[in-house]
């Protein structure tokens, strides 16, 4: 199936292209997950792949996350390249034992004899009134674990290019999409355009404050940046794209230039991505900072169902604007 590079592609279709191209390129790649074959996936990322590649390479599983994730890890030890779809990040919790105790440890613990070239992809995030058990952002859980690689694409181009890299990588890659981004359209690369891990993307250049955001929060930060620009404040929005590996150089050099940093994260505030990034930046840039690093995160509560409460709990552009203003107001900008 040919793709017109000029045509904007939705994030879900960009992922679909990456899967199709990698299935075509490498016979060891196969997909498994709940409702991914006959039903095209809960978010339609795997649409059409069953028809094209057949039931041996696009496999519907029972609802049994721990079992099939572990099975895929075993298959990866034998050299296959499974791409597991977990319907949403909320259900990967059932498979955490397999991911953390097995996938992340096997290469190290056995002295490098066996690798686990698996990709586990799933959407996280909130904003659709799905209440506490279906609205979580658990990026930090994975980013905490040595042995995993952690990727959080925010654009269709990254979704495609990073997924292709993930599939070809020899380590377990946790690939966290976002429910709020599947319809987002943008340009994508061709079959040979891979995006390397460990390269942050500057989404908007600026001089007054560095705003670090990933996944859906990139778009929240960019909206805030527009608003701030109308007030004469230019923020630099940087998307780390991958947390393991992390491109700390790009983040730190921006912060050294602006003297101000605000980290935006859809996850909870305590001991999470925002806390981890702030610590790394304090260690790297303490002498350059004109104010304490600001953080904009999800409220420190399980996500409520009611729309007004959910919106209040989630980071909004206005929260980012307020955090930047407070940050540069405190300093000598």
């Amino acid at each position: 199936m040919s793709t017109d590079p000029a045509k904007p592609v939705a994030y879900r279709d960009a992922l679909n292209q990456a899967l199709r191209e990698e299935l075509t390129r490498d016979p060891d790649v196969f997909l498994l997950g709940e409702d991914i074959a006959g039903f095209d996936g809960a978010f339609k990322v795997t649409r059409g792949l069953l028809a094209e590649f057949g039931p041996e390479r696009v496999v519907d599983t029972p609802i049994t996350e721990a079992g099939f994730t572990g099975m895929a890890i075993g298959a990866a030890m034998a050299g296959l390249r499974p791409v597991v779809e977990i319907m949403t990040v909320n259900f990967v919790i059932l498979a955490m034992d397999q991911i953390v105790n097995n996938a992340a440890k096997i290469h190290y613990m056995f002295g490098g004899q066996a690798s686990v070239p698996i990709v586990i992809r799933m959407p996280g995030g909130a904003g659709h009134q799905l209440s506490s058990q279906h609205s979580q952002t658990l990026d930090a859980w994975f980013a905490h674990v040595p042995g995993l690689k952690v990727v959080c694409p925010s654009t269709p181009e990254d979704a495609k290019g990073l997924l292709k890299t993930a599939i070809r990588d020899d380590d377990p890659v946790i690939f966290i999409e976002n429910e709020g981004l599947y319809g987002k359209k943008g340009p994508v690369g061709g079959p040979d355009d891979l995006i390397p891990f460990g390269q942050a993307a500057v989404r908007r250049a600026g001089t007054h404050c560095t705003v670090i955001a990933h996944s859906r929060m990139v778009w929240v930060a960019l909206q805030a940046a527009e608003e701030l620009a109308s007030q004469g404040i230019e923020v630099e929005v940087i998307d780390p794209r991958t947390f393991r590996p992390l491109d700390l150089d790009t983040l730190a050099s921006s912060v050294r230039r602006t003297g101000h940093a605000v980290v935006v994260d859809e996850g909870w505030p305590e001991y999470g991505i925002s806390a981890g990034l702030a610590t790394l930046l304090y260690e790297a840039c303490f002498d350059w900072l004109d104010a304490p690093i600001g953080r904009v995160t999800c409220a420190d509560v399980p996500m409520p169902y009611a729309k007004n409460l959910e919106q209040a709990a989630l980071p909004q552009p206005a929260d980012v604007v307020a955090a930047v203003l407070a940050n540069i107001g405190q300093g000598v900008a």
Binding site: E34, F39, D60, P62, N90, T297, A306, N308, L309, A313
Partner: protein, 337 residues
């Protein structure tokens, strides 16, 4: 049709009313969803009313019940106020859970309904824990936990079967087999389609009944409860049923075959039970019409109440995270975005 042991005519009328209420309530909920007043996921149990009502009608009021996210019926059958249930679906402060849970997470602890849960299989160990507590306290309550055919494939469910059998816990496992888990049919998900047979490996008496026949469900659950209450043994009943709508409101339901849907439509549990009530002269056509009108009014009132109810104050966002809250000023700044 045989009537279950000890089922009087008033019981049958109550069961029918409960089924009517669930049907009309959920039809109304789907309208509220289409009008944009209900957000998130809305899973309807239309078609499964006999399974829900037959089960609840056999239970004692103090027997704890746990369920999945498809649980409006369980809450209503347990006697939860339809106004509070609808208000919860609309995320209002008058809702059963104060607008925090929504459709998937109803709980009415005062009526021993211990909640609807969103993680497939995740509520089954909770049901086991409620049984454990009953035995620990030497009460004769029996815990009933309802879950889907899809959920039976979760490892944790097998773990629960084993512990229940090992420790003779007073629990009734109810597999509500509507033959699909989202878009995946039972035959594509289960190595053995007679799901109740899984309990054989754990020495748990188990069998399958017609889940579209409310009297059959009531009879089977009554027997399972008797085993659990009197013999202090777990039991398991598989209820074979069908949902008439898609998995949730956002599922266009294109996977299931039209003929299959039509075949099950002909077995509508409300229609067949109405025939029984008329045939056995439990109710007249006039009685039934009057009951339908009364239920209609209850549902309309619930919707009006919910729509007029106030939103939850945002200031209450962080209430109830803990039963023993702590004041942690150092973190106060990070609490709100």
């Amino acid at each position: 049709m045989s009537t279950a042991t000890g089922t009087g005519q008033q019981d049958m009328r109550d069961m029918f009313r409960s089924m009517l209420l669930i049907r009309r309530f959920e039809e109304k909920a789907s309208e509220e969803y289409m009008a944009g007043r209900i957000g998130g996921f809305l899973h309807l149990a239309i078609g499964e009313e006999a399974a829900v009502v037959g089960t609840v009608s056999a239970m004692r009021a103090d027997d704890p019940l746990t369920s999945t996210y498809r649980e409006h019926g369980q809450a209503l059958a347990r006697g939860a106020d339809p106004r509070a249930v609808m208000a919860e679906l609309l995320g209002r402060s008058t809702g059963l859970c104060g607008g925090r849970g929504g459709s998937m997470h109803l709980m009415d602890k005062a009526r021993s309904f211990y909640g609807g849960y969103g993680i497939v299989g995740g509520s089954v160990p909770l049901g086991l824990g409620l049984a454990y507590a009953a035995r620990y306290r030497k009460s004769d309550q029996v815990s009933v936990t309802m879950f889907g055919d899809g959920a039976t494939n979760q490892g944790v469910v097998a773990e629960c079967f084993n512990m229940a059998g090992l420790w003779d816990l007073p629990i009734v496992f109810l597999i509500l087999n509507n033959q699909y888990g989202m878009g995946t049919s039972l035959e594509h998900a289960a190595a053995e389609e007679d799901l109740y047979t899984r309990c054989n490996a754990y020495g748990i008496p188990s069998w399958k009944v017609d889940g579209m026949d409310v009297m059959a469900v009531r009879g089977a659950v009554a027997e399972a409860l008797r085993i659990a209450r009197e013999e202090r043994n777990p039991a398991c009943v598989e209820l074979l049923a069908y949902r008439y709508r898609g998995h949730s409101m956002s599922d266009p339901d294109t996977v299931r075959d039209a003929d299959e849907k039509e075949r099950w439509r002909l077995r509508d549990p409300l229609v067949t039970f109405e025939r029984v009530l008329l045939g056995e002269a439990v109710m007249t056509a006039d009685d039934i019409a009057a009951m339908k009108a009364e239920v209609e009014a209850v549902v309309e009132d619930a919707a009006a109440f919910a729509e007029e109810s106030p939103e939850v104050p945002v200031a209450e966002l962080a209430d109830d995270v803990y039963a023993n809250p702590f004041n942690d000023d150092a973190r106060g700044g990070a609490l709100m975005p």
